[in-house]
Symmetry: C2
Subunit: 377 residues, 2 copies
């Protein structure tokens, strides 16, 4: 493993071959469904990754913070949707981005926020592009398709001089499912709820050009998206063990792993201690309640081959405890001597990536390149 | 709360008054016990925090990565203990730090690593200061006090020309306890096990000047530390909800909180949506199995007063779901309108701090100052 001799551990490794395959798979599916695809770059927070998504056919990006908007705009991305409910105190920042040429769309799900947006926009001579967030699965934010508030928010924006761009939903509860049938049903629920909200706005004489839906599981499960104009998804670019348990990828699709070094053993317990603790893996235990619990991650060899049954059963800040599931491995210290390099597949790529200031991107030709990642707000 | 109008959310807020009180409490206890105190700066990764610890009487610092060692050394800290088992590939970096004048101590718990240290040291004419890690509670790394390997590692280092500095242990399983009696017993187990290891090394004719123990719960619970020369602890500087449940602090001692803004509601469910999701709070659910589960954190008003019963019951990347425990709060949207600023006390200060590139330190006089924090390795 000469290639890894140049980098220290823990390191966040991207297998570019896998990443490209994941990007192509999603984009092709979106093309077949005839919808625009707007990837959520909160997963990677990385310019190079977003560029690969754009080159494959993505149109515009979705962000979760205005810092992401700033960073991607500085890198030449102009069509940006900030898909978290707009806090009124952030309107001056949004205005500033728009005045600098960023086509920034914003989101609201309440009359109070819609009024604040319209008042601020009018006071500053700016017609913000605003989507109304729709709740199609009860998991977080949004207005239910049949609620009166939907039309009220639409009117406050439209009559207040803002550009009512349409409706947006995210069926985050798809993360709790794990059969193709349930995922398909959730994709249809997400689609039909969002389309219904659009129909109600239009029936009330309000504009609604955009119907934006998506989560990685529903985007991949959908086989028809009538009435939808745009899909958003984020974690598909890397995939992870949570997605593996949901059933939308296999371990061999997971493009992000943590390169780690064995630093010790408790041989009598069958433990190897590695330098990937929770600071590297994150505290995400997303597989804990899924059909297979991978602890803090699935162990692979340095080449990325899954070592079935070996997982991180525990994590302290800079220590990971590697063990075999079931019977303890009496040969652990021989199997993984001090200095051994391994890779750990993460439960949740968004959370694990966030622990690192940069990725190490591994090309097909075996070269490594550092790709920066944003941190903070 | 004009003071917070100048900063965006989410922000990692340090109450300096509380931090100073926490630092003084620990230092005074160590002074009374007659031991040196070497704080673990992995909790804050912040120069200003470590300086406050040093000004109160701390001698030297403990780090969990060589990046921390680099950063604190650059800021004038020279007595640094790297308290994670030494991976042989990091020896050139450790050597370089020592050659630049850093009194860097390192750690090992295996014959394999000890040999690698001694060989590398001899080949480079460097007598590394090395402690042997002792396992006093079975929770992670280290050699048990009665194991043969303890003396073997000691001999490999001493006879290999290294400076055998002594023994070190960390009773991390103290985090699983929650009564004063159990904590006192664990503190005594940690002390006696480490002292026993020191006695064995000395009886074998090996040097063992340092006997280093510690975790925040055991350090605070200990009422006698005979034979111990040095104590290490980290999270006490901020405290958190895990420590509150263990019983070594109250909510009013917690010096780190996340300042957040209400961005929406699901009034029928009694939810407020805030902009502190897991990216801000971390995915740490350390209170999940403790006597009181605080979800993703305890809600306080903007002045830091605990709003009893209000917690973050869920978290997505940039969304926190705030709810009252028990019966839903039908007035949630009136109680916390959009734009309301709140503070959230974290489950685990080390993990929450790590999500932020900087802290906002709040003085008694009401001024805010940005304090940088290291990220990555």
């Amino acid at each position: 493993m000469n290639i890894f001799a140049t980098i220290d551990t823990p390191a966040a490794l991207i297998e570019r071959t896998r990443m490209r395959r994941n990007i192509e798979r999603m984009q092709q599916h979106m093309n077949e469904l005839g919808v625009r695809f707007r990837p959520h770059v909160k997963t990677s927070k990385c310019i190079e990754v977003a560029k690969a998504q754009r080159e494959a056919g993505a149109q515009g990006i979705t962000v979760s913070t205005l810092k992401e908007a700033e960073q991607f705009f500085a890198a030449g991305f102009t069509d940006i949707l900030y898909a978290v409910g707009m806090a009124p105190h952030r309107l001056p920042h949004a205005l500033e981005l728009r005045r600098r040429g960023c086509a920034l769309g914003i989101l609201t799900d309440s009359v109070a926020s819609a009024r604040a947006i319209a008042e601020f926009g009018r006071a500053n001579g700016e017609a913000f592009d605003v989507l109304v967030e729709v709740d199609t699965d009860g998991h977080r934010s949004g207005i239910k398709p049949e609620e009166d508030a939907l039309l009220e928010v639409g009117r406050v924006l439209h009559e207040g001089g803002m550009r009512l761009g349409g409706v947006l939903t995210h069926a985050g509860s798809s993360y709790e499912l794990d059969t193709p049938e349930a995922l398909k049903a959730m994709a249809e629920q997400e689609r039909s709820g969002c389309v219904r909200a659009a129909q109600r706005l239009r029936a009330a004489g309000l504009p609604c050009p955009v119907v934006s839906v998506g989560s990685t599981p529903t985007a991949l499960a959908a086989d028809a998206l009538d009435g939808v104009t745009e899909v958003r998804a984020g974690v598909y670019v890397f995939f992870d063990l949570v997605m593996r348990n949901i059933g939308v990828c296999t371990e061999d699709d997971i493009a992000l792993s943590v390169l780690t070094t064995v630093i010790g053993h408790q041989a009598d317990k069958g433990w190897a201690i590695v330098d990937a603790g929770w600071m590297a893996m994150s505290r995400d235990r997303g597989t804990q309640k899924q059909k297979r619990d991978f602890g803090y991650g699935q162990v692979c060899d340095a080449q990325g081959r899954v070592l079935d049954g070996y997982v991180l059963i525990g994590a302290n800040q800079e220590h990971g405890i590697l063990s075999r599931e079931g019977e303890a491995d009496a040969d652990i210290a021989v199997r993984f001597p001090v200095g051994t390099r391994l890779r750990i597949l993460p439960n949740h790529a968004c959370a694990t990536g966030a622990q690192f200031p940069e990725y190490q991107a591994l090309s097909e030709d075996g070269t490594l390149r550092a790709w920066g990642r944003f941190h903070g707000w």
